[in-house]
Symmetry: C2
Subunit: 368 residues, 2 copies
């Protein structure tokens, strides 16, 4: 297998298989090496109406010997549903795709999640390749094999753990990413820095102070590769999220509550994660695990990334707290938080008192 020049390769090792994540510049034009082994198979490429016009032709040119069909979904989280899934199934069945066919997901997290889920369930599982085009999907969603669709009553309620054959990350695609989405992706990058700590955290801190934009390829390439490496390391140890992998939910307990409360309309996922990260650090401070200076540091990083980190006016903090606690009271479930002592020292905690949670939310609130 010949690899594009200067591309990073991270191998994700799971119980069932090992697959490569390539991170490089111009990989869309130079990714034929990925398809070589799969050349004789039938391929269905799934994308959305925003990404397809930008990159689909480029990708098709890179795989000239492959018989490829395309399916273009509408763009947006609200289309990560049964209707879109059925469209993929229908296309596969109409086209008489067999078990040795494969799918390509070209797009952001929505396209990746739904295509992965279709791959995991069509004829009890066919191969698929992730080609993420948003920063958020590149550093997080495309690696690790979590697939899902949303149910009207809950996000990602239907899904599977199903690993791709390969992940191809072309950082050049970030050049066309709307700025708001790029910034939202930086929230997940900051999450990885908090999880990993060390020089990665310090370097990112500095880079954010200097400013990172989507055309800083030489900064972004190693940054994305590092996030993928951290994730791969966690997934290797706990593919099905029975423990360790839950650390990747740092900031997400808050983020999900915020997203639900606003019916997923107010924020991009990464934007909600930004607020969630700040809340998680603040809660860690309140519980005596972390120093206040860490909360200030994280707030500064999020600001530098252009991300709001306070719970904004318009959100009823009491209601937010009740919502989180209500979930906790159901059956034996306990509301689980990822807390941290310092960058690189995160842990799970299911024993957060309601009072401290509320204090945290009030403190994170930007109003008054």
């Amino acid at each position: 297998m010949v690899k594009a020049n200067n591309a990073y390769q991270i191998d994700v090792i799971t119980g069932e298989n090992t697959y490569p994540v390539y991170v490089g510049e111009g990989l869309l034009e130079h990714c034929s090496f990925v398809f070589e082994q799969l050349a004789t198979r039938q391929v269905l490429m799934v994308s959305n109406e925003t990404v397809a016009p930008l990159y689909m032709d480029k990708l098709l040119n890179a795989m000239p010997d492959v018989e490829t069909d395309c399916l273009i979904l509408k763009d947006g989280e609200q289309y990560k549903n049964f209707t879109s899934l059925q469209k993929i199934y229908d296309k596969l069945i109409d086209g008489r795709y067999h078990r040795d066919s494969y799918l390509i997901a070209l797009g952001g997290g929505v396209v990746g999640d739904i295509t992965g889920f279709a791959a995991s369930t069509y004829q009890r599982g066919i191969a698929y390749i992730q080609i993420p085009t948003t920063l958020l999907a590149q550093v997080d969603a495309s690696v690790g094999g979590k697939t899902a669709i949303n149910h009207p009553l809950g996000k990602n309620m239907i899904g599977s753990f199903y690993q791709p054959e390969a992940v191809v990350i072309d950082v050049n695609t970030l050049r066309t990413l709307p700025e708001r989405e790029f910034k939202a992706g930086l929230a997940e990058v900051i999450k990885y820095a908090l999880l990993h700590g060390g020089t990665f955290f310090d370097t990112l801190y500095q880079q954010l102070e200097e400013g990172i934009d989507a055309s800083d390829i030489e900064v972004l390439k190693p940054l994305i590769a590092k996030c993928c490496r951290i994730k791969a390391d966690i997934v290797r140890q706990d593919e099905k999220e029975t423990g360790l992998r839950a650390l990747l939910n740092l900031g997400h307990t808050f983020a999900h509550a915020l997203e639900t409360l606003s019916a997923y309309k107010r924020w991009l996922h990464g934007e909600a994660v930004a607020i969630g990260l700040y809340c998680a650090v603040l809660l860690s401070v309140k519980l005596g695990y972390a120093k206040l200076s860490l909360a200030e540091k994280v707030a500064h990083m999020l600001s530098c990334a252009g991300l709001a980190y306070k719970i904004p006016v318009g959100i009823d903090v009491e209601q937010l707290c009740d919502k989180m606690m209500l979930d906790k009271k159901i059956k034996d479930k306990r509301l689980q938080f990822v807390l941290l002592e310092a960058p690189g020292a995160c842990f799970l905690n299911s024993e957060v008192p309601e009072r401290l949670l509320k204090e945290t939310l009030i403190e994170a609130f930007e109003g008054d």
Copy 2:
């Protein structure tokens, strides 16, 4: 773990886990040992309107400390669809079932397949237990983790490989099984005898000559356990059907074509398999692999089981052959047959000439 007296236990070993299959009499009343480890969890039992009135209360009594909710689906292959699947999801989400909940499938293959698929995809996978109540599900569908629903354009097109935590087979449930369904189940038993050969084949031959009915518990218990053991052995070696496991499709290439041609209305699956088994042996004879006497033997066994084995009047043999060959011509797919030299000596073959296939079908036709 205390096991019911005189129950067989077969362990199914797969890459991800190992689980027990219990085969015994009165297990529905005495299966609390299966649930002991799961006692604190939330349980949703899925059944159908035929089986639920007969056995649901019995089972609920056996698990008094478990908080159990029930969902009763309509009975029939036509309900193994997205609508039924959604009913399970809705019930799970409405009831706020968590990732540590589990499902119980109480019924035949349809209930087992759809419940298993729901379990494999709800919140990326929760546990489930199979409690099959038809002979076909007991000897075949409930063991090995194949889950599925039908797509309007194809049977079992959407599904997964997802192993249960346990399979509980109470042979007493066969006493209420309609005779036609019992006989259909015997077709799969004969399939296992052909796959395995040896004394199992000889003994079954004799037992069928003497007549087996649904109340012959002492005959059925070891028979079912043996089929499960054969299947477990194959699944252990090839869980995801990349090779060996395809042998379990003996007779099924024909059966599927017959079922499709008749829009799944004319036969129970096992009845189509009966004809398929006869055709597979006949084709093996025609290709010079098996002796004609084997075809006669198999025909005799199927007759003794009360199963028609000839392609009946009303089926257009030309059309059947065209249908099978058409499938073959699509893309690189080849029509794969399981052939045999003798009981216990089966193999895969993708090189059957159309002419011989047609001759076989004509010879298996009962008309003229």
